[in-house]
């Protein structure tokens, strides 16, 4: 069994009246990547800074590599936490060369130091750039140097704070797979902060969703997507609509779209909100259909149709771009009756 890279217990931090992080509790095992995702201001960066030691928690504990770094009795300063960090702006030392930047955190001397710098340059594919100054590099290259600098001392945990948000959209997809590959090759333990759900699902072995200071759910990317444990996660990760439903005992929930199988257990008769994802629904234009198309968004490969149900609630459905229906068209639904939908207790 792998050891624990980071463990946070009941970590809480307030700034003035706002609780930036509330009772965060989680554990990350060595060699894994945890992607922390949430809307801006949800506290994910504060959580990162608490782990790095740049903020002092009001309450709670942090363990790095099994050792306590902050608790009620002690506070280990950032320089003795064995943490590597890469910021959004890369924060390369502008007065040092690429090699000097990478060597900055190394304690070894002489040839060992040079060897390590060489290894890191090879790892990031910038062997020829060692003597360049940071401003001579492209954004993507600076990004990789920042990564190499943080990895060079072989930290117990690597923290990445929105590392791709300064890159252009197309560069971003390329760089993030490069980075993921580098991280996997070095078997680093990583906490990665992003506000982009696609990025979180792509990068994370585990994904943690944060909202208003709370760590709402930590799970595998698949489970986060398929089994969100509250409506916020459902809407934030992927697209979701909710319709009213009533549990009718026999593993099914009764809705205006028909009886659907559901995941989990509720007492019979419970009112619930049923999560419907666009890819779950297929629509057919039929004159007597109960749904009516009220909006159509062209997404290149697909159309995303917004359909009003008899109750007035709306759901969205994906169709191939060849299936072009006019607004006002009546439709019926074709659902996969074996698929289990997710229900949340109704309000």
């Amino acid at each position: 069994m792998k050891g624990s890279a980071v463990r946070c217990n009941d970590l809480t931090k307030t700034f003035g009246d706002t609780e930036a992080v509330k009772n965060a509790t989680f554990e990350l095992s060595s060699g894994n990547i945890l992607a922390l995702v949430g809307p801006s201001g949800c506290g994910k960066t504060t959580l990162l800074r608490l782990i790095a030691g740049f903020e002092i928690p009001d309450r709670g504990e942090v363990y790095i590599g099994g050792e306590p770094v902050v608790n009620e009795r002690k506070f280990i300063p950032p320089e003795r936490r064995d943490v590597g960090i890469v910021f959004q702006n890369y924060a390369l030392f502008p007065h040092l060369t690429v090699s000097e930047n990478i060597a900055y955190g190394l304690t070894s001397d002489g040839t060992q130091r040079e060897k390590r710098v060489g290894e890191m340059l090879t790892l990031i594919g910038l062997e020829k750039c060692g003597s360049k100054m940071p401003h001579e590099l492209s954004g993507g290259e600076q990004q990789r140097v920042a990564l190499a600098r943080a990895l060079a001392p072989d930290p117990e945990i690597l923290l990445l704070d929105e590392p791709f948000s300064n890159l252009d959209a197309d560069l971003r997809t390329r760089i993030r797979s490069e980075v993921r590959e580098i991280l996997k090759r070095t078997e680093a333990s990583v906490i990665f902060v992003t506000h982009d759900q696609d990025e979180a699902l792509f990068m994370g072995d585990r994904v943690g969703v944060m909202n208003e200071g709370k760590l709402v759910q930590v799970d595998s990317p698949e489970d986060i997507f398929h089994y969100p444990n509250n409506p916020f996660v459902a809407e934030f990760i992927g697209t979701a609509d909710f319709i009213d439903g009533k549990i009718n005992g026999e593993e099914t929930v009764e809705t205006e779209m028909g009886n659907l199988r559901y995941h989990g257990t509720f007492p019979s008769g419970t009112s619930v909100d049923v999560m419907i994802r666009p890819d779950f629904i297929d629509i057919e234009p039929v004159n007597e259909g109960v749904g009516e198309i009220i909006d159509r968004i062209f997404r290149g490969m697909h159309y995303l149709y917004k359909i009003r149900l008899p109750s007035g609630l709306t759901v969205r459905a994906l169709k191939h771009h060849t299936e072009n229906y006019e607004l006002g068209t009546n439709v019926t639904f074709d659902l996969d009756r074996e698929h289990e939908v997710i229900c949340f207790p109704g309000k």
């Binding site: 030691g53 320089e79 960090i85 910021f87 702006n89 924060a91």
Partner: protein, 532 residues
């Protein structure tokens, strides 16, 4: 969880303990003399206060305020056209003019007074125009304006350059022409720069001693100085008068800080494309002539007069070597001061930029003392503190006085470059195993080296020119170039004054060049205080 000791240490730890101790020591050392002056002045007896509050004081206040109001107005009349011509028009040799029109800043006011007196006195260079009386208000006004109008020119030009040009384009697209756009959009946006620059000039006029003393225009700094030299309690009267001057200076400074925060809000460095240059058409050459006239009056004329007296002095057998001693004293005192001020300023700049709290705010404010107080007040305070001690009238007290006066200049310059460093750069260094102290040494200071150098250079430059504190605090018979020029001019030895002024101008122009290069690198002008 209560904040444990280790956590408190971390909170303060971004600024290590030695920095705290140094910074606080500097602040305490620099504040005590002024507090002491105020206490002593308030303790003074009734007879002293009767001498302070008499008719003569009121008259002096009137003369002082006349200069304080007139100097910014005349400066505005000069600087506003210059600022527009050199940033927004197709004026011939625009770049050259924009450098030349700022250079008078390097001249001390007493040097310009020397130039005027040695030209327009009946025994002077242009003595044949003897109907022209240069002494008194006109002379004082001209001197103060000549050397301080760049304080308006610099922020106005920075503001014009940094302005978001799309605002003016929007105005033009809405049917307003050049003039109407200027009046309705550009000028209102310039207002903060005008206000802040004018207040700096007002402060300069309030503090000036060199020009007003030579011109025989008795303002507050003069009566403080003359009372100080009077026996039998003159010093206490001077201290009482200092308090009044202190109040006026503080209120000007208060107004200045108010306008400064607005100026920040208004100026935007996001200026998009370059603006359309205004075609001057047939006004091109008159505009050229205007710039030529300003540069001739405030730069070329002084240099020619200086050259004339130097040549005349040498041909009459004056030795060039007679001011070696003074030149050495100036260089020595200025160099030592620049070094000492930078060393004192670094911890304070670190405290005020890296630690935000009530204490660091207080520290920052207290260092503005030198900015608010005329040299004569600070000198008087130090005299009262040190008189009777072995340090009195030694170079140490003089340099201490210089330090109080010029600390804000160095702090300002270093702060600016510290603020440009992204805090994440320092955090990365911490996470890579370097302590807060090591991080300051290996990251923070190397990255702010230009600010530190510029601060030191600026202090060197202003110390070279300093007159009042040098007269009051210098060791007996300690002559600098500044005091030599002042003494010889007041005794009408113009050739000697010129021979002392020549090295001052030459030695000042080197640091001025360095500063111009720094400011150019930074792309915006540094805020320069009124103490130059």
């Amino acid at each position: 969880m209560k904040l444990e000791k280790s956590a408190i240490r971390e909170k303060l730890g971004r600024v290590p303990l030695p920095v705290w101790i140094l910074g606080l020591a500097v602040v305490v050392a620099f504040t005590i003399p002024i507090v002491y002056l105020v206490v002593r002045a308030l303790e003074a007896g009734m007879e002293t206060w009767e001498l302070v509050f008499r008719m003569r004081t009121l008259e002096t206040m009137g003369r002082t305020l006349a200069l304080v109001v007139a100097a910014p107005l005349l400066s505005l009349a000069i600087a506003l056209p210059l600022a527009i011509l050199t940033t927004r028009t197709n004026l011939p040799f625009r770049k050259t003019w924009s450098v030349l029109t700022v250079l008078p800043l390097v001249l001390p006011s007493y040097l310009y007074a020397f130039v005027l007196i040695s030209s327009f006195r009946s025994d002077g260079l242009l003595g044949f125009l003897s109907s022209f009386d240069i002494y008194g208000f006109p002379g004082a006004l001209l001197c103060v304006t000549a050397v301080s109008y760049p304080y308006l020119l610099l922020p106005m030009r920075a503001s014009l350059k940094g302005m978001d040009f799309s605002l003016e384009e929007a105005s033009k697209s809405l049917g307003h022409g050049h003039l109407s756009t200027f009046r309705k959009v550009t000028l209102p946006l310039l207002r903060p720069a005008i206000a802040s620059g004018s207040l700096l000039i007002a402060l300069y006029a309030l503090r000036d001693f060199g020009a007003i003393s030579l011109m025989g225009y008795e303002t507050f700094t003069w009566i403080i100085y003359s009372n100080y030299q009077m026996p039998f309690g003159g010093r206490m009267v001077a201290a009482g008068l200092s308090l009044i001057l202190l109040l006026v200076a503080l209120s000007l400074l208060f107004m200045e800080t108010k306008t400064r925060s607005k100026a920040k809000y208004h100026s935007s460095s996001e200026g998009s494309s370059a603006p359309d240059l205004i075609e001057l058409g047939r006004w091109r050459w008159p505009a050229f002539l205007f710039c030529g006239l300003i540069v001739s009056a405030f730069l070329i004329f002084p240099m020619v007069v200086l050259g004339y007296w130097v040549v005349r002095g040498i041909s009459a057998g004056q030795s060039l070597q007679m001011y070696w001693g003074a030149a050495f004293n100036s260089l020595f005192a200025s160099g030592l001061t620049a070094l000492a001020v930078v060393l004192a300023a670094i911890p304070i700049a670190l405290l005020t930029t890296r630690f935000s709290g009530k204490l660091s705010k207080l520290i920052e404010k207290s260092t503005y003392i030198g900015f608010a107080l005329p040299g004569v007040v600070i000198a008087l305070a130090l005299v009262i503190v040190f008189v009777g001690t072995p340090l009195y009238q030694t170079i140490f007290v003089l340099i201490f006085g210089y330090m109080i006066l010029f600390l804000p200049l160095a702090i300002g310059s270093i702060r600016t470059s510290l603020l440009q460093i992204n805090p994440t750069v320092e955090e990365v260094s911490r996470s890579l195993g370097k302590s807060a102290g090591e991080t300051i040494g290996s990251i923070t200071l190397p990255l702010s080296k230009y600010g530190i150098l510029a601060g030191g250079t600026l202090v060197f430059l202003v110390t070279m020119k300093e007159l009042q504190a040098t007269l009051l605090l210098g060791p007996r018979n300690f002559e600098t170039l500044a005091t030599s020029i002042w003494h010889t001019t007041s005794e009408a030895f113009f050739a000697r004054a010129a021979i002392a002024a020549l090295p001052l101008v030459l030695l000042s122009s080197v640091p001025m060049m360095i500063l111009l290069i720094f400011w150019h690198r930074r792309g915006n002008h540094e805020r320069i205080s009124g103490s130059m």
